[in-house]
């Protein structure tokens, strides 16, 4: 049991860490929050923009996690689902490594529709997928001796977990991205916008591969 507590804690930290990681990636939208505040010349515009970006990101997370949480009622397939999910995440990472073109359709979203933009950006970059192996890990520990639980209970438990993971992740993401946006807006100025902007494309794709691999290994090892 103690072991389980430690790994659940570790997995929740992974949820928070992935949120921070998504937050600092300019591809997930913090430059939009800076731009909104500057264009409207008021602080509240930044808060609104950050909220819209967070909402879009949250939707993208739940859109990916919920189907997996529903699938988990197939208890006897749990291990295969975890391995399949891990492979899917690896595949997305490899796809992003091979296809280095930017999703151009994102540029066609109207600049004021930030929630939609954030949702699409997260989907296009596989941001939700990065959470899947972590989420499945948490579920498998929570479900524990699943054979004795009613499918109903199991499913609702998993759905609650999915929302919890998406919420914690989004809060962490919003905190990180929001902090960078506020610091640039209030203190550093736009000169630092281009200076702090790193190309995370390869690192991002490799992160997907890594998370997917860990997911597959954990499933095999029976964690």
């Amino acid at each position: 049991m103690a072991e389980d507590v430690i790994s659940v804690t570790a997995l929740w930290w992974a949820v928070i860490f992935s949120g921070l990681y998504h937050g600092i990636n300019p591809g997930m939208g913090w430059p939009l929050a800076v731009s909104a505040a500057l264009m409207e010349r008021k602080h509240t515009a930044m808060a609104k923009a950050i909220a819209a970006l967070a909402f879009g990101h949250f939707l993208a997370m739940t859109a990916i996690l919920l189907p997996f949480s529903l699938m988990l009622f197939l208890v006897e397939w749990a291990r295969d689902i975890r391995i399949g999910a891990g492979l899917l995440v690896i595949a997305m990472g490899i796809y992003l490594l091979v296809n280095r073109r930017h999703p151009k359709f994102l540029a066609r979203v109207h600049p004021s529709r930030l929630a939609l933009w954030s949702f699409l950006a997260a989907m296009a970059h596989g941001a939700g997928l990065m959470l899947v192996p972590i989420f499945l890990g948490i579920c498998s520990i929570d479900n524990g001796d699943a054979g004795h639980q009613a499918v109903q209970t199991l499913m609702s438990g998993n759905i609650v977990t999915a929302f919890a993971v998406a919420t914690v992740h989004t809060l962490a993401m919003t905190a990180a991205g929001g902090l960078i946006a506020v610091i640039i807006y209030l203190w550093l100025g736009l000169k630092f916008l281009s200076k702090t902007w790193f190309n995370l494309d390869i690192v991002w794709a490799l992160s997907l591969v890594l998370v997917g691999l860990l997911g597959v290994i954990a499933a095999y090892a029976g964690y």
Partner: protein
């Protein structure tokens, strides 16, 4: 693909003004009769260099008859748009279209002294993929490179309206037409936009038969050249409003929006008012109800002249029209430069109040009748035409050719390509630099100038200058 944004990308126009100054200029060289190949001249603009003011490299293309005119970058400060999330393109390639051949060259200028052709897009590909011909203005936009065209399909470019097409900014593949709903737009010339506010403005010159063989006097006098500007929902690709400037305002050419994206106004130059031969600048803006408006805010009068001194085209008028053929706005949105190609003058207007421009400086050079000489004592063929301002707003460069066949009609006795520079005073004012005078190789004329690292008509900024 870089790991960091290109250092020549700037979040705001203000940051671009503070950036290091230009060391090189790229200027179009064109053969007016198609007997030589066109090219791009690389001009040394570093005053400390031994070759300052000289052409230090030339990229000469293998074909003849292209007629280079306008050109632009594969990527600019618009790459820092918060919507892209990927600011890692390089400002490295010049997209150079031939408006007579419809051929497009992609020139790699990573090392300006070794600039070379990277790719050539043949006219057939452009026709097949877009239905347009005679590519012209280049801007780097949300989904790639936007290129305006002057002609539609068919031999003389009148089969269908001209418009804008989009090119991939990495592979330079032509993607296709931009417009979903062009409304009444049936002619084209220039376009520019405000990316955060998501609008675009486009203008009209005339259809290919109206310019390729020279200006058609009957068409001009019956007001058949373009006289409208079009406002677009940029991302919806839809014409939302067309403003007719009045049919006597013939040839609404350059569109210059304020560089600061919080501002919703800009300028448009009109070549000639057929009722009085004046040149004009219109200010366009979005009113409180969201409707676009336009008002004439600058007029420049013609100058009476002896018909003896005038080309055939103008003899009947006994006057020289100013012929406002190019305008450019400094990055601080303070000074608008207006080329009066007929008079032989470059005007500088203080447009701090865009509705009340004030003449702040003026330089006289060339001209149909005046023939003002350069302060170095040399002649200047034709008049001041394509104008480009340094990012810091302190130097203004210009060349002298308008368009091959039109040069010959308005200046039948002139020939040559020149590029000059004027210094801007601390509080306005404009003075020609005696030591900067680039004479182009014999038989070649000079048109648009692009400055290394971007200039006042290439870069679109996505954040306000606060």
């Amino acid at each position: 693909m870089n790991l960091r944004p290109d250092p020549t990308f700037h979040a705001t126009a203000k940051l671009a003004m503070q950036a290091p100054v230009e060391n090189y200029g790229f200027t179009v060289m064109l053969s007016p009769d198609g007997t030589q190949s066109d090219g791009i001249a690389v001009v040394d603009l570093n005053p400390k260099s031994k070759t300052y003011g000289e052409i230090v490299h030339q990229v000469i293309v293998p074909n003849i008859g292209d007629e280079f005119h306008h050109f632009g970058w594969n990527a600019c400060s618009s790459s820092l748009s918060p919507l892209t999330g990927h600011a890692f393109l390089e400002r490295r390639y010049l997209i150079v279209p031939g408006i007579r051949s419809s051929r497009i060259y992609i020139i790699d200028v990573k090392d300006p002294l070794k600039a070379k052709i990277h790719k050539t897009i043949e006219p057939e590909e452009l026709f097949a993929k877009t239905g347009y011909s005679r590519p012209h203005t280049i801007h780097c936009g949300p989904e790639g490179i936007y290129v305006s065209t002057l002609g539609g399909g068919g031999e003389d470019g009148t089969d269908g309206p001209p418009g804008i097409f989009i090119m991939d900014c990495e592979t330079f593949e032509i993607i296709g037409q931009y417009e979903m709903d062009r409304g009444p737009q049936d002619k084209h010339y220039d376009f520019w936009w405000n990316l955060p506010q998501d609008y675009m403005v486009s203008s009209e010159w005339g259809l290919p038969p109206q310019f390729e063989g020279g200006i058609v006097a009957e068409d001009l006098l019956s007001n058949k050249y373009g006289h409208s500007i079009h406002f677009w929902d940029l991302r919806a690709r839809k014409n939302i409003q067309t403003i007719d400037l009045g049919e006597n305002h013939q040839m609404a050419l350059e569109i210059r929006p304020a560089h600061d994206p919080t501002k919703s106004y800009g300028f448009c130059g009109v070549v000639v008012d057929t009722t009085n031969l004046q040149g004009a600048i219109f200010t366009w803006w979005r009113d409180d109800d969201g409707k676009w408006q336009a008002k004439k805010t600058i007029t420049i009068d013609p100058v009476p002249a002896d018909p003896e001194d005038l080309p055939d085209l103008l003899k009947g008028f006994s006057a020289v029209p100013p012929l406002v053929t190019d305008i450019d706005l400094s990055l601080d949105d303070k000074y608008l430069y207006v080329a009066c190609w007929g008079l032989g003058e470059m005007h500088q207007y203080d447009v701090s109040d865009p509705m009340n421009p004030k003449l702040a400086g003026k330089v006289e050079l060339g001209g149909i009748v005046a023939h003002h000489k350069h302060p170095n004592g040399k002649d200047f063929a034709f008049g001041p035409q394509m104008v480009e301002i340094s990012r810091d707003g302190k130097r203004v460069y210009w060349t002298n050719s308008l368009y091959s066949t039109w040069d010959d009609q308005f200046y039948p006795n002139d020939e040559g390509g020149q590029m000059v520079m004027a210094n801007v005073g601390e509080n306005g004012g404009l003075t020609l630099d005696k030591n900067f005078y680039v004479d182009f190789p014999k038989g070649l004329r000079a048109h648009q100038i692009r400055l290394e690292g971007g200039d006042c008509s290439t870069d679109s900024f996505c954040y306000p200058s606060v």
